[in-house]
Subunit: 115 residues, 4 copies
């Protein structure tokens, strides 16, 4: 699969099929999914917690830790998509609209190179 | 924007442009981004923490809390995409490969309706 | 050990000895410890993520899940104490002062029974 | 208040009084409290997310960011204590027992100076 060709809807269907085959949508209420998402995000952090930022970037070039990070990032994305599926959220639109707010909150000329 | 048409690459470019315009990639190392992702996931949870699962699902039909949840989900996705951008991760492929592992770990016939 | 007799300082020394014996204070900067704390909090949540609030309370009376929760809570507390140790924070005072702020923010007569 | 004199039980009563005055124990089930704890841990991380570990340690000597960190740490501890209160957990014992497990898992001679 390729990010150039793959649409959001394809990923949504992909995740939805997995959930339906296991009849797991009964567990996928908004509260539970928000917890699952936060837990996967913590598992991604767990890879990096004791290392310096420079070491962490190096770890992203080492096969084992890189694959571990990719797997945890995938889990975060899968639960984010499952949350969108369950609650009928247009993901592209959500990102687009949030970026409009972010552009207003952080004007490029004012926030260049710092926070 | 529409999930049926929008590709992952389009969202990646969209996020990357925002980061480049602010020269923020200097802050976007793997460690920092994993923290930012976890923080946004916590902000999504914050909407639901004191309510029952049934109340939380109802909140997803009320305009204010629904919009708040959509915005926090977008932030999670934006940082997940920023993590993929910075570390040259093929998102579609990451999800596809993780789903292969998940299918092995949770065979549909064995995990139907329970965990 | 007993909560009636044990002082905060005793717990602080207890945690500090463990860290010193392993020469781990080099990893215990504020950033890393805040991540470790969040990761342990996520592990506590992991026990409860797919269950209803009623089921979760029942799980706190079942030996295995109760012990698992106690262990994760202990990990959260150990890292919170390690953070206080490393940064010379008076824990009792921190809680006392934060409660003063919380009492102002949430007056009892105004917030009785709701948020 | 002083860590040398203050017992765990005193902090427990302190937190319990605050909760009872607001009749909030109805919201303090194990699931909800685990979420609240994780959210406060994320707020502590939020102070440090874009800074290097060295900068973060410096921030702990600057009045504003130090006070912010102390307040967030207090919130983490308050919810950890509330969790112990609601579920009748002996905190000193929980930490003591978990340290026994940690000493076995990470023998000092084998883990000195590294993970």
């Amino acid at each position: 699969m390729d990010d150039k060709e793959t649409t959001i809807l394809e990923l949504k269907k992909f995740v939805e099929d997995f959930v339906q085959e296991r009849e797991w949508s009964q567990f996928h209420n908004a509260k539970n999914l928000s917890m699952a998402l936060a837990i996967e995000a913590a598992e991604l952090m767990d890879i990096f917690k004791w290392n310096t930022t420079a070491e962490c970037d190096t770890m992203m070039f080492e096969e084992n830790s890189r694959q571990e990070a990719i797997d945890e990032l995938a889990d975060v994305l899968i639960y984010a998509i499952a949350f969108a599926n369950r609650n009928d959220i247009n993901i592209s639109n959500a990102i687009d609209q949030k970026m409009v707010k972010n552009r207003k909150k952080y004007p490029a000329d004012k926030f260049k190179g710092h926070f």
